[in-house]
Symmetry: C2
Subunit: 116 residues, 2 copies
DNA sequence: CATGAATGGAACGGAGCCGAAACGGTTATT
DNA sequence: AATAACCGTTTCGGCTCCGTTCCATTCATG
């Protein structure tokens, strides 16, 4: 038993959430940045630059730059892997967890308002 | 009876759709552009630059530029209003309808794969 | 008509992201 | 110890989007 969602509802949901995000004038993350952030917070750690680049099928600099941006917003943090100092481990932050949580709440709220 | 969606499912859904879009390396619309496109295709016409700017709470040039970009991609088209030649009416295109339809299908497909 | 309001667009400088390539630091291999 | 492989970052030029401001056209109002 999976979620039942018709195409018109799916599109309406996306519109409502997008409108809310645009109007909120919040951090304004790129599609890529959002995908990275959600992956960090939903998929099990550890997360590395290379691993994320592979998962999104983008180049490493894309990940680095996205982490720069989101790091400045305190949504994620970076730490050298003590076991293999070539690696950088990406970790969650309190602010990031809050951001993700709020975003989820917006989606849930908008989905509850969907017409049948 | 509305859609039942838990926060974890909402976030997972957004992640999966975002990942699919990033990996697809498609037209790569901005959040704003997507919100505009969906509004044009979901809300009843007529659509004007000023009307869209008000609905998204952004400035007119934002709409104009987004229409420039999406017009070049043939996702929307512009026509002068014959009744009031100051207005520009934004209309749908076959390519835009296909794009929106395909996007809706992606959301539906990802939502069907969601774990309970 | 003449004036003012309203509409969409253009111009400007600034900021952010892009892809491709090259780079320094770390670990593995020989 | 020397070399190669690996990892993340930085650099470069180029492109897009941004906000603000100003402009041309069109309509409403006296």
């Amino acid at each position: 038993m999976s979620i039942q969602l018709r195409p018109s509802q799916a599109l309406r949901l996306w519109q409502q959430v997008s409108l809310a995000e645009v109007r909120a004038k919040e951090p304004d993350l790129t599609e890529r940045q959002l995908a990275i952030l959600l992956t960090i917070y939903l998929d099990p750690p550890p997360h590395t630059v290379r691993g994320l680049a592979g998962k999104l099928d983008v180049s490493k600099p894309v990940i680095t730059r996205a982490l720069d941006t989101m790091g400045a917003l305190k949504l994620v943090s970076r730490h050298r892997d003590p076991n293999d100092r070539r690696n950088v481990l990406i970790k969650r932050t309190v602010e990031g967890a809050l951001f993700v949580e709020r975003f989820g709440d917006v989606v849930v709220a908008k989905s509850a308002e969907l017409p049948l």
